[in-house]
């Protein structure tokens, strides 16, 4: 509607090249910052270079077969799926609950909101260290109280506890972001609809499930995509500081292994092959999300 007013006079460009010229900067950025690195990664995945870049050998698909024959690498897919699902579910669930609560507050809501947004400003590695201190088996506060309750916390040897800890730290960091979007989403829902339902005698939970949640679905879907990408790619700082992928490989997610093999192990060929595999995984995941989940979204 807005467009109709301003575009009432149809403008035509006679120059055939102008559109391409105007598109060029964007194309250039995409080429330089996306296609070129992607090509480099794809190429490196077929080579075995030495760390200093003094020589390299073409090895065909050997980097891939080496990875896929490794039982630990295959297990890392499951670890990644569990980790991402838990992070997305917990951070979104907690954020939604907080948003609903904050939305109902009338006095001092500004303070609540500000405080809830704070954790987003914490860098992943710092968040990791923070949680590590709290849950350090020997000096942490949490294990101290857990011990009083008769529970012996030791995430350096217990895979379940290690996973729980990295999930909690990663999810905690993302709650603020999700909270912000959920709150905005809630405030965009017309009050009249909810009031009408209330007058009809619908209780709080009934109103939530039949009106609020469906109307929030575009926000929820957007956050689902963002959170899965976050869990996949932006959590390795947290993992690096808390568990470094251990115990055994209980918290080694795919991206963490890319980082560890490439930047700690200097095995750039394998690291590149892993990036290519990851590219496919994320591609498939995105298709699944948009094909199957987006259908359930009401815009």
């Amino acid at each position: 509607m807005h467009l109709d007013n301003t575009m009432s006079q149809r403008v035509t460009f006679n120059n055939k090249f102008l559109p391409y010229l105007l598109l060029a900067p964007q194309m250039l950025v995409t080429l330089v910052f996306f296609f070129w690195p992607a090509y480099q990664a794809a190429r490196s995945s077929l080579y075995l270079p030495d760390p200093f870049g003094l020589s390299e050998q073409y090895v065909g698909l050997e980097n891939f077969t080496f990875l896929l024959e490794d039982a630990y690498y295959r297990a890392s897919f499951i670890t990644t799926a569990v980790f991402s699902a838990l992070v997305a579910a917990i951070s979104m669930g907690a954020a939604l609950w907080l948003a609903i609560m904050a939305d109902r507050i009338i006095k001092g809501s500004g303070i609540y909101r500000t405080l809830l947004i704070w954790p987003y400003a914490v860098a992943p590695a710092i968040a990791g260290v923070l949680w590590l201190f709290m849950f350090n088996p020997s000096i942490g506060v949490a294990p101290y109280y857990l011990k009083a309750l008769g529970y012996n916390w030791n995430h350096v040897l217990n895979p379940g506890e290690a996973m729980g800890l990295v999930v909690a730290a990663s999810a905690w960091k993302q709650v603020s972001y999700n909270f912000l979007f959920f709150l905005a989403g809630l405030q965009a829902i017309p009050k009249s609809v909810i009031e009408a339902a209330a007058i009809d005698g619908a209780g709080f939970w009934r109103r939530f499930w039949t009106i609020v949640f469906p109307l929030l679905s575009p926000t929820t879907f957007f956050l689902l995509v963002v959170n899965v990408v976050y869990a996949f790619f932006e959590t390795f700082g947290v993992i690096h500081t808390i568990t470094a992928g251990g115990p055994q490989q209980a918290t080694t997610i795919l991206v963490y292994k890319v980082f560890a093999d490439g930047f700690v192990g200097q095995d750039l060929g394998s690291s590149a092959a892993q990036s290519v595999i990851l590219l496919f995984v994320v591609g498939i995941l995105t298709i699944v999300q948009f094909r199957f989940i987006e259908r359930k979204v009401h815009y």
């Binding site: 490794d70 700690v264 200097q266």
Partner: protein, 437 residues
């Protein structure tokens, strides 16, 4: 106030640097912060003030892994420093990069700098020397694992704090008594792979890997799943099961618990001495790393070092190399070395520095500090105890950590876990061998 001090510092830096502009600058990238960083800066300052021709510029580039990475990335971009601090684990990587480094013996002869390889302690320089005796890099900070003992904890358990702890058999008796008395952390460790596999192997004169632990070729294979190593790791696993050995983490997390007085025994680097001395509010002692009496009738071999060395990188001017050579020479002088050894707890790299420290009465005043040196020099190093030279070793240590965690948790027996680690590590060794061909 803060802004003022920064400005003042910048001003001081500029003014201080001006007269030295004529000097040839030589870059040194290192991994030290805190107290070690200060002592390192002091060495640089002493050198810079001692002459006018060269100026060493030190830059901190993160931890060991990050510093090595920074050096490698810089080399790829043609911006490498003249000198790079590389931890012992990266030795094989540096050695294999023939076009990227200048071996120390070459640097010294090319620049006509005074250099006597015989002055360095065999067990320390051995790690960074080729099989035909040529020094490739200068050992900078070297330490070796020892046993720290909380004497108060032993007393409380009804044990003689001066008891003989030379063998693991005797330690096992003490662990049993500690456990019986209700002690919650009889034994903990730092750097499990370094202490309980790498040094265990050298100490018992058995191979950690074939081909003289990789010194004789990149076609080496891991061999730490032999009977002695398996028996040791299984004993530790049994202790872990009984609550006698407490696993605290892959790095030196156990140190905090020992220094807080929670643990009775602690196997850790000799360089941990300064921290223990500063923080421990209990009576402690340093003993030799124990060995298995049943496996070693004739007493132990020698332990190997950990730490870092300084590598000189290729692609610089002759004049700058002269500066680097002069600095490496300066670091090797007895006075500088003795001070470094006494301040940090790292081993002296030359025999002269060790003699000077003794003459100054340091060992008498600080009992326990002589243990590490003695452990290194007791016997002439063999092919099994010269050190390790394995490609992708940082990753292999990661694999060993993972498999040991599986053993401590009781998921695998020592034999299964070590067999796994050997198999997985060998795959990486083959990749490394191929990549450096």
């Amino acid at each position: 106030m803060k802004r003022f001090s920064v400005t003042a510092a910048a001003l001081a830096l500029v003014m201080g640097a001006t007269p030295a502009m004529a000097a040839t600058q030589v870059q040194w990238w290192h991994a030290f912060t805190g107290r070690l960083g200060e002592l390192l800066a002091e060495q640089i300052e002493t050198f810079n003030e001692s002459q006018d021709d060269y100026e060493i510029v030190g830059s901190h580039k993160g931890n060991y892994s990050e510093t090595l990475n920074a050096g490698i990335a810089a080399f790829r971009a043609g911006e490498q420093p003249h000198m790079l601090m590389v931890f012992e684990v990266g030795t094989a990587t540096m050695m294999a990069a023939k076009g990227a480094i200048v071996p120390m013996h070459e640097l010294m002869s090319d620049t006509d700098t005074e250099f006597n390889p015989e002055a360095y302690m065999p067990a320390v320089k051995g790690y960074y020397t080729t099989t035909d005796g040529k020094m490739l890099s200068l050992p900078y900070n070297a330490s070796t694992p020892v046993l720290y003992v909380n004497k108060d904890a032993l007393k409380e358990a009804g044990l003689d704090p001066e008891m003989n702890l030379a063998t693991w058999e005797k330690v096992a008796v003490a662990l049993e008594a500690l456990k019986k008395s209700g002690h919650e952390c009889p034994l903990t460790t730092a750097w499990q792979s370094w202490v309980h596999l790498e040094n265990l192997s050298a100490w018992h004169d058995i191979p950690f890997a074939t081909k003289d632990n990789g010194f004789a070729g990149t076609d080496t294979e891991l061999a730490f799943n032999g009977p002695v190593q398996v028996a040791h790791i299984q004993a530790m696993a049994d202790w872990a099961k009984d609550g006698k050995f407490i696993y605290a983490g892959r790095r030196n997390e156990g140190g905090a618990r020992f220094r807080a007085g929670e643990c009775a025994f602690f196997t850790e680097s000799s360089a941990g001495y300064a921290g223990v001395k500063k923080e421990a509010e209990f009576d402690f002692a340093i003993r030799n790393l124990p060995y298995w009496g049943a496996a070693l009738k004739s007493g132990p071999q020698n332990t190997i070092i950990g730490g870092a060395s300084i590598w000189v990188m290729a692609g610089h001017e002759a004049e700058e190399y002269k500066g680097a050579a002069a600095f490496l020479n300066f670091l090797s002088t007895p006075k500088i070395q003795a001070k470094w050894h006494q301040d940090t707890g790292y081993l002296p790299i030359t025999t002269a520095a060790s003699g000077l420290t003794e003459a100054q009465g340091f060992y008498e005043k600080n009992p326990g500090t002589e243990i590490a040196g003695g452990q290194m020099t007791g016997k002439a190093p063999t092919g099994n105890s010269k050190g390790l030279r394995l490609g992708s070793f940082d990753q292999i240590r990661g694999i060993i950590d993972e498999e040991l965690e599986g053993i401590w948790a009781g998921d695998n027996t020592a034999q299964e876990g070590l067999d796994n680690a050997v198999r997985r590590g060998n795959q990486l060794l083959r990749r490394f061998e191929k990549s450096t061909k």
